[in-house]
């Protein structure tokens, strides 16, 4: 099974851990394409949407991430995946050197150069952990398609702030592995599972971190299932209904937190992975 990983940054813990977990389970990625750490286009888009102050806060949160003091990583549930020979792998380049994964840095994952490189790798499946909104030419390259781990149960909860919306909408917390298409979280579902590991969960950041790690294991299971032919995409029901949610306002987040019984509010940048 030839797998390629797409990442939002060479320092994305989710992207690095995904590549590492694939390698650790015997499916060393044949390549990884990442946006640069300091992406001018993203920053300009954030600037246009948020203005100077908030985009500066966003950039700072990316450049100086808050790491867990014990594990040395932002998402402690990915700590084990990022460990190798007693050291923590912090970048895609380190992952590449350790596991022999070719890395491409591209400011646009849809660019003709990126797609050409992807074709050269001739992947069976691409695992998306972050980056651009993917266009059709890229989506058409891998044999099985591009898969994404979505932190909500589809089709009920599409879009942003999925765990928070799930809590307010009375939909069970869960993760769905699905194929990506031109819509927002509208592609066929591959694996869907409720998430119940809430003991000791003390914030939405913690919840999200747990769900990311949970979803990562589901991705591994999905890739294995696709290879074995035991998992196939199921078109989402209820396509005509608008299930897309957007970023939740802080006050509603605080109400969702009450339902979960945790600390309420995320700040800029913390919800981006």
């Amino acid at each position: 099974m030839r797998v390629v990983v797409l990442c939002s940054s060479p320092y994305s813990e989710t992207g690095c851990a995904m590549a590492a977990r694939l390698a650790q389970t015997g499916r060393v990625p044949v390549g990884a394409i990442s946006l640069p750490a300091f992406d001018r286009t993203t920053l300009l888009r954030k600037f246009a949407q948020w203005g100077g102050r908030d985009s500066a806060r966003f950039a700072w949160s990316k450049l100086a991430p808050r790491r867990n003091k014990t594990t040395g990583v932002r998402n402690p549930y990915l700590g084990d995946a990022l460990q190798h020979s007693g050291k923590t792998l912090r970048s895609l380049q380190e992952i590449g050197r350790t596991y022999g994964v070719p890395i491409m840095i591209s400011a646009n994952q849809n660019s003709s150069l990126a797609i050409e490189r992807l074709r050269q790798w001739s992947p069976d499946v691409v695992v998306f952990t972050g980056g651009n909104i993917l266009r059709k030419p890229l989506l058409a390259v891998p044999r099985f398609g591009v898969i994404n781990s979505h932190l909500g149960l589809l089709p009920e909860i599409r879009g942003m702030s999925s765990p928070e919306w799930s809590l307010l909408e009375g939909v069970p917390l869960g993760v769905t592995i699905h194929l990506m298409d031109a819509g927002i979280d509208t592609g066929g579902t591959l694996l869907k599972r409720e998430f119940r590991e809430l003991d000791g969960c003390d914030s939405f950041i913690d919840l999200r971190n747990r769900m990311i790690a949970f979803g990562m294991e589901m991705v591994l299971e999905t890739v294995a299932g696709l290879e074995a032919g035991t998992i196939a995409p199921h078109p989402q029901a209820d396509q005509e209904k608008d299930h897309q949610f957007f970023v939740m306002h802080d006050w509603l987040k605080s109400q969702a937190a009450v339902r979960l019984g945790v600390r309420p509010v995320l700040s800029v940048g913390e919800a981006s992975e």
């Binding site: 949407q49 957007f246 700040s267």
Partner: protein, 399 residues
């Protein structure tokens, strides 16, 4: 030119004007082009509400009339009967929410001033209060809203009598198809944003139980619903020489929605929600609503029409209340953050706490002005937000 001449009479206004223009130029270029920020509440809602209500109370004239706007070039305008009318419910709502007797007193003074403007036909005059006596359907409808609320609060017979007469005049001026056109209609043409008039008549009918007022409202509502496209586009605004400002689109939607709620017309609520949903999605995706739209919600001018935004916040909050759809509440809360950030906490009395016509201040809708109806709609949106948040929390506690 008249506005600019104001600077000749009041040269002291030049520096605040230049300051405002350069501040908005800097802000719109380098920070918050659309004022959108979902990150955190910068200004508490209660504080912002106090600021806008204070703007209204400061602007009110000794005779009770409320000016249309404060211009950065010529100062306060003459009193505006239309806005004075529909500011009355806002002032009473604030008085009840905060036990503020000043606001209740201001509402009574406004009502008394309106009663003094009654025409013998029962209609109320058009435009600013300049002494001209041209009857106006829209002004009469908007003033009727204030009269109905004034009567509900005080039970004074003369207020009900004036409201009843206004309702009768509106019924007599209505065309057979349910619209209002000709004498008394702006530019002599029929407009769908007169759904606001139908809403006032529905409120009057609820209070008096008079079927004639209810049927006048129903006829207009039926006509407006026929003009709304399946896409949600609010056709028939029909203002010659003006772009379709968000303010008027929001008027159509708000009038249809509130009329639908008052008359228990599900078809109207569904139609309003279809249009409101289109704008909600645009706001969520683009982080802003445009100041104007072309037909079928195609892209118009890209300034921010703050009043239209506040109206849409009211619409989304009422739709959340009516349907329980949380995405309306989410959009409205974010919109209110945007609007609260637009308020000025320093400056002269006409700018402090005022809602500008446009952001940046030179945008096409009411440029270089702080407008009283902008304050009214923002106050309504903030009061709705506070009320619905309390209800949400109470439900959460109960469950």
């Amino acid at each position: 030119m008249v506005e600019a001449a104001g600077l000749m009479k009041g040269p002291h206004r030049i520096f605040p004007l230049l300051f405002r223009i350069s501040a908005d130029a800097m802000r719109s270029r380098f920070d918050q082009r659309t004022l959108y920020s979902y990150t955190s509440t910068i200004r508490p809602t209660e504080e912002a509400l106090g600021l806008v209500i204070d703007w209204i109370l400061r602007a009110q004239q000794p005779d009770g009339g409320v000016p249309a706007y404060y211009s950065l070039m010529r100062g306060y305008s003459e009193s505006y009967p239309e806005v004075t009318g529909y500011i009355v419910p806002t002032l009473y709502d604030f008085a009840h929410a905060t036990s503020d007797s000043d606001a209740a007193h201001a509402a009574e003074r406004a009502t008394n001033w309106l009663l003094s403007l009654r025409m013998s036909s029962g209609a109320f005059p058009a435009g600013l209060h300049t002494g001209e006596e041209q009857p106006s359907v829209f002004n009469t409808g908007q003033i009727l809203q204030g009269l109905v609320r004034g009567y509900m609060e005080t039970h004074r017979a003369e207020i009900l009598e004036a409201a009843d007469a206004a309702g009768d005049w509106l019924a007599s001026a209505q065309s057979p198809d349910g619209s209002w056109s000709g004498l008394g209609a702006y530019q002599g043409a029929a407009h769908t944003y007169y759904s606001m008039v139908a809403w006032s008549l529905a409120l009057l009918a609820s209070e008096t139980k008079a079927t004639r007022h209810r049927s006048t409202a129903e006829r207009n509502l039926d006509w407006v619903l026929k003009q709304i496209e399946p896409s949600g586009w609010t056709g028939g605004i029909n203002l010659k020489g003006y772009p379709t400002f968000l303010h008027f689109i929001a008027y159509v939607i708000q009038g249809v929605l509130e009329c639908g709620i008052a008359l228990h017309r599900e078809d109207a609520i569904v139609a309003a929600s279809r249009s409101a949903w289109v704008l909600l999605r645009k706001f969520e995706v683009h982080k802003a609503l445009l100041g104007t739209y072309e037909a079928e919600f195609k892209r118009g001018m890209s300034f921010v029409c703050l009043t239209g935004n506040a109206q849409m916040s009211c619409v989304w909050l009422r739709l959340y209340e009516a349907t329980g759809e949380l995405r309306y509440l989410n959009g409205a809360l974010k919109m209110n953050e945007l609007l609260k950030q637009s308020l000025r906490t320093r400056g002269n009395r006409g700018a402090l706490g005022g809602v500008a016509g446009s952001y940046p201040i030179w945008g096409a809708y009411q440029p270089l002005r702080y407008i009283s109806w902008g304050c009214k709609f923002l106050a309504d949106a903030l009061m709705l937000e506070l009320r619905l948040k309390r209800a949400f929390e109470a439900r959460a506690c109960a469950s």
